[in-house]
């Protein structure tokens, strides 16, 4: 159902939209196979192929992947968010969600659900004895407010007509024909949309500054260089609903008088890049991008730039330097990006999620947007929920939702019923929140007060098996590797901190190391050049503040979580040991001794803590000493 005509007026666009909608409704049945990166890795491409194959054999049901179909549409959708349960298959109009689907399940799904309208019970989500056929009823979804992610998983991300069918490009239509550029800035400013990339800077204010510059050549840049470990909100939007973000960029360009836009995407997101390329090509073909869009004076061209995998290129000035072909290093400010950004011209720089919010705001108004979320942080926020939580995945909640709701109601609680210990929020730039923080609201200001930050929205849940010193070491290692190396505190300071933490996790920490970590941490925070450096020490300072006893335990050569390999000691339970000698034979360093049929012992001096004995013991007699 590709729409092959170019849109030259408002009426053309409206016509295309209604035709697309009619086309979508005409599908009696739609099979939406999640083609997010997670589900693709889980084998969703093969599932898609199976369904396509199956559809072929059925009379009167012609299924051709990506082309016009008669009745059943097999679609590759964007990420549904419920990644823990992938690969996911959604059947419309019944709204059934099948989880953990395997290629061999396709036949049954097709025969039962598609042809006979019956659900396949064993593939629906079940929790606490309740089976949930409909996706919307599953607690994971029911507790969310999916606005930015609304279309993700529900439309085919590779066809512009699907976006048009759900009302796409109506915000830019409204802006171009019913609003002056200033009015678009007004509504975004009035909505108090704050940057979703981490800083929480007011988007409207930023746009207004760009709009005020005397220089007339201006740029709109989208930061899709989502680099936080474990974060994939922006990737999911780019993969699942690329047009929404493109429309947001168009609105920014119209509002600020920019003529060209750049999307900077990490090279590690090949699928996002390909979907964006497709989306841009289709929008260009329909003349939604290019010169005189919809017959107006507004022209806008969009380019994609692939990042080369540097975390620091998420920083504004490093990002623009990278697009310009320079080494991705932040520069001193002023001049700010709004004055002299890309190619030295005034530049609007926002991240993917921020742009994706804009069409909704323009369409529904500032008051609507402010009715969601908190006063200081209106709207929703997407989070990547990962770690020791039952339902990992991509979620979207109103700002101000408590951590408890996110972890327990949506996330389904701590995995394996363990005790909640902490949540690391904001990635390598963020801090950790603990038990006592479970009821704080997730919004820009509340988190800042707690020494953490929303960052781009990574939430890593940790239980009692997570060692906080190791967590700090992990993030410090990340930051040190990703530091551009320009300013001394970040380049050398994080290295010195990392060296200390590396010593700590192998039990070679010293009492004075804690003071040194704090001294370095505060100095780096205060003196580093850019945001990456200024926040580099946060994971350490925050864990040090909340879990100082754990650091002290490491100095005393103990890891309370039992996770630091070098600090573990393995012991053989004399009562459980049958003296079979299997462990001794498998020990690579001959650290286990004993007499057959009598309990064996581990020589702690020799032991290299590899854990091989634990796996080989047929009686489960070997464990980590507490």
């Amino acid at each position: 159902m590709a729409v092959n005509f170019s849109l030259k007026s408002r009426e053309d666009l409206q016509k295309a939209r209604s035709e697309s909608k009619a086309q979508m409704v005409a599908d009696d049945c739609r099979i939406l196979i999640c083609a997010g990166t997670g589900c693709l890795a889980g084998g969703s491409q093969e599932i898609c192929d199976r369904f396509t194959e199956l559809s072929k054999d059925v009379k009167n049901v012609s299924v051709e992947f990506g082309k016009e179909i008669a009745h059943v549409g097999v679609k590759k959708s964007g990420c549904h968010g419920f990644c823990e349960m992938g690969p996911l298959v959604r059947i419309e109009p019944m709204n059934i969600l099948y989880i953990k689907v395997k290629p061999e399940d396709c036949q049954e799904i097709f025969e039962k659900t598609i042809l006979r309208g019956e659900p396949v019970e064993r593939l629906v989500y079940e929790i606490d004895g309740v089976k949930y056929e409909a996706q919307e009823d599953i607690p994971f979804y029911a507790k969310q407010t999916r606005l930015v992610l609304k279309n993700c998983g529900h439309i085919d991300a590779e066809h512009i007509s699907e976006y048009l069918a759900v009302g796409g490009y109506s915000a830019i239509e409204k802006a171009l024909f019913d609003m002056k550029p200033d009015e678009v800035v007004d509504v975004v400013e009035e909505a108090n949309l704050r940057g979703r990339g981490g800083g929480g800077f007011q988007t409207g204010y930023k746009w207004r500054q760009v709009a005020r510059q005397p220089e007339k050549i201006r740029y709109v840049v989208c930061n899709g260089d989502e680099g936080d470990p474990g974060a994939f909100m922006d990737r999911s939007i780019m993969e699942g609903d690329p047009h929404k973000m493109i429309e947001g960029m168009m609105l920014a360009a119209y509002a600020t008088g920019a003529q060209e836009g750049y999307i900077y995407v990490r090279a590690e997101y090949p699928l996002a890049i390909s979907r964006l390329k497709t989306a841009i090509a289709q929008a260009e073909e329909m003349q939604l991008l290019g010169d005189h869009i919809l017959g107006t004076d507004f022209s806008f061209k969009l380019h994609i730039n692939r990042g080369a995998g540097a975390f620091v290129c998420g920083e504004g000035s490093a990002l623009t330097a990278s697009i310009e072909g320079e080494r991705g290093m932040p520069r001193t400010k002023p001049p700010r990006t709004v004055e002299q950004g890309l190619f030295g011209k005034p530049t609007v720089l926002n991240n993917v999620e921020t742009y994706a919010n804009v069409p909704m705001i323009v369409e529904n108004g500032a008051a609507w947007f402010k009715s969601i979320g908190t006063e200081g942080s209106p709207g929703t926020k997407a989070f990547a929920l990962t770690g020791s939580v039952n339902n990992t995945g991509l979620i979207e909640v109103p700002m101000g939702t408590t951590l408890r709701e996110v972890i327990y109601d949506i996330g389904g609680g701590v995995k394996g019923g363990g005790a909640f210990k902490a949540v690391q929020i904001g990635g390598p730039s963020g801090g950790c929140l603990v038990d006592a923080d479970l009821d704080i609201q997730l919004d820009f200001d509340s988190l800042k007060k707690r020494g953490a930050m929303i960052g781009s929205g990574g939430l890593v849940v940790m239980d009692e098996n997570s060692c906080m010193v190791e967590v700090a070491r992990f993030f410090m290692n990340f930051t040190q590797n990703e530091s551009c190396g320009k300013c001394v505190p970040c380049r050398e300071g994080t290295m010195r901190m990392l060296e200390i933490l590396e010593r700590m996790v192998i039990g070679e920490g010293k009492e004075e190391d804690l003071d040194m970590l704090e001294e370095l941490g505060h100095a780096i925070t205060d003196t580093a050049l850019c945001g990456l450096g200024k926040s580099a020490a946060l994971p350490v300072l925050s864990t040090l503040a909340n879990f100082r006893d754990e650091y002290i335990a490491h100095i005393n050569r103990k890891c309370p979580a039992g996770s630091c390999e070098k600090l573990r000691s393995y012991v053989i339970d004399a009562d459980a040991c049958k003296g079979c000698s299997k462990c001794a034979r498998n020990c690579p360093v001959e650290a286990i001794d004993g007499v057959i049929k009598e309990p064996y012992q581990i020589n702690q001096e020799k032991c290299i803590k590899c854990g091989a004995c634990v796996d080989t013991c047929p009686f489960g007699a070997i464990h980590i000493a507490s």
């Binding site: 190396g485 320009k486 001394v488 380049r491 370095l520 205060d526 050049l529």
Partner: protein, 559 residues
């Protein structure tokens, strides 16, 4: 007038572009590694951090001064931060100060002392990197690099060369040529400006002193020195002589004490250059070919043009540089001697080391300049010989090359070559020196990056441009190629201000030193009895008795 408050004192704002300049104006010498007023703001060393009323800490180099600001520069917090940053720099820096070339003149060392760093609480775990000895001009020692980026920006922004840049991230970051090639395999022109700004010994002058010592100690070798103009006003820096003061007489004396058999003045070579180059200009103007004529005395520029503007080959003067001409003449003059002659030129310049090696500067396949040592190396030799330089009596250079004009001396400053050539041309025209001060004020002097002037030759207006700094030169040439500018004669000096700030001069050299050196050289000229090469009686003698019509062989690079 607007004011800001710095450490409780009111300081007026007088159009300073950054807060650091205001703070320094107020008499507080905040330490920096990466701030140079002639380079872009880099903001990496973080030594210049200050604190505002709200306790916010920020670097002053990159902050715009705003009226009413209240700034503290010296709180305990700031002192601790600076000290810690210094400690961090030292934590990954080679700490063998006693055996370092920069011992005593190292900014890192002196700031560590100033900030009271009494211990480095971290061990240096940095992997040792090999040194790069490939260039005849400079040596790179990555182990001593503190990554301030001064060399990178100087090379790219001032010189338009860009032979150095950053590679790798985090603590693995390094400054290196692209693909870690040897610096000699890049477009490096050897100007040594990177070494001038380097606060440590990460980039130093390639040492040629040892070869000179050997020659001096060989009884069968006659060692002859020629001293470039800009050396005399800088060599004293190393011995506590006021900046910019002419120490030529002391230097001559010191070199004789070290064992040089003859000591001459390269300004004499410059007088020969004026003869040759003005003749070349007049000839080209007459024939109206290969114009504009570009000067060739600066080896950094000549090498730069090789890479960047090979199409200008025929436009560049065929004259050897003063060093090249003089060495050829000296070698020829002493050729009948029983002893072997070893010509040492003492230069403010690292690129001259490369020039001496270029075949077009050889006569009959023999290298004329045997060793080039820089001002800094000469000072080190004198120090090594334990000579009390500052107490020496002044001595005159040797005959028969003992007289040089003031015009020859000002070759060492931007515009000097042009001024000397104009003096010659005007003198030739009407045989008097009344034009001297008119030329002086015609636009040849001063520090504008591009200076323009013109003279009338017959009924032709000869348009002249003077440019210093290769980056600006490059822009100028592009504009000329685009037809936006037109000249007949272009003087190019690779280094800003000319040879007085050459890559081989003593460091550190701040704004006051730079100014004093320029002034010092003009003072030598003003004090000279002979101002133009025409008046130098020895030039005629040398043409008659030594060169004897072999100008092309001895004084030019191509025929």
């Amino acid at each position: 007038m607007d004011f800001i408050t710095i450490d409780s004192r009111c300081v007026p704002l007088e159009g300073e572009k950054n807060l650091l300049s205001v703070i320094r104006k107020a008499g507080i010498d905040l330490p920096t590694f990466c701030y140079h007023s002639e380079l872009s703001i880099y903001g990496a060393c973080r030594m210049c951090v200050v604190e505002d009323e709200r306790g916010r800490v920020f670097a002053s180099c990159s902050e715009q001064p705003r009226p009413g600001m209240v700034i503290k520069t010296n709180t305990i917090k700031l002192q601790n931060y600076r000290k810690l940053i210094m400690e961090l720099l030292l934590s990954s820096h080679c700490r063998d100060c006693t055996t370092c070339h920069k011992n005593g003149i190292c900014t890192l060392q002196s700031l560590a002392y100033k900030l009271g760093v009494d211990a480095v609480r971290f061990t240096n775990n940095k992997e040792e990197q090999p040194l790069d000895f490939s260039s005849p001009s400079i040596v790179r020692d990555p182990n001593k690099c503190i990554l301030c980026g001064d060399c990178v920006r100087t090379c790219a922004e001032v010189q338009g060369v860009g032979a150095l840049d950053f590679a790798f991230r985090g603590s693995k970051m390094q400054v290196m040529p692209a693909f870690n090639k040897d610096i000699n395999d890049t477009e490096c022109v050897g100007c040594g400006q990177c070494r001038v700004v380097c606060p440590t010994a990460a980039i130093t002058i390639k040492k040629d002193e040892d070869r000179v010592w050997e020659a001096l100690n060989d009884p069968n070798t006659r060692v002859v020195a020629q001293i470039a103009p800009a050396v005399r006003i800088a060599v004293g820096d190393s011995f506590g002589i006021p900046k910019g003061e002419n120490s030529m007489g002391k230097l001559v004396s010191a070199l004789r004490r070290i064992g040089f058999d003859k000591v001459f003045d390269t300004s004499f070579g410059a007088d020969l250059t004026v003869y040759e180059e003005s003749a070349e200009l007049v000839e080209r103007l007459t024939k109206n070919e290969n114009l504009p004529l570009f000067t060739s005395c600066c080896p950094g520029w000549v090498k730069f043009s090789d890479y960047k503007f090979p199409e200008l080959k025929e436009n560049i003067s065929s004259c050897r540089s003063p060093q090249g001409m003089f060495s050829a003449v000296l070698k020829d003059y002493f050729k009948d001697d029983e002893k072997k002659t070893f010509v040492v030129s003492i230069m403010p310049c690292t690129a001259k080391k490369g020039e001496a090696l270029r075949p077009e500067n050889h006569t009959d396949g023999v290298q004329d300049t045997d060793a080039v040592i820089t001002t800094a190396e000469a000072a080190r030799m004198i120090r090594k010989a334990a000579i009390k330089f500052e107490e020496l009596d002044e001595e005159a250079v040797d005959m028969p090359f003992g007289i040089a004009s003031g015009g020859g001396v000002i070759f060492g400053v931007t515009g000097g070559v042009t001024e000397a050539v104009l003096r010659k041309i005007c003198y030739d025209k009407d045989n008097n020196l009344s034009e001297l001060s008119r030329i002086e004020f015609s636009g040849v002097r001063g520090l504008d990056s591009v200076k323009e002037t013109s003279i009338m030759l017959g009924d032709r207006e000869v348009k002249i441009a003077i440019v210093h700094g290769l980056g600006v030169a490059s822009q100028l040439i592009e504009e000329m190629k685009a037809g936006k500018r037109h000249y007949d004669f272009v003087e190019v000096m690779a280094c800003r201000r000319g040879c007085v700030m050459g890559g081989g001069q003593p460091v550190p050299a701040g704004p006051k030193t730079k100014k004093a050196r320029v002034k010092g050289l003009y003072k030598v000229d003003t004090g000279s009895q002979v101002r133009t090469s025409n008046e130098n009686p020895m030039v005629e003698v040398i043409y008659r008795d030594i060169i004897k019509g072999r100008e092309h062989e001895l004084l030019h690079t191509r025929h």
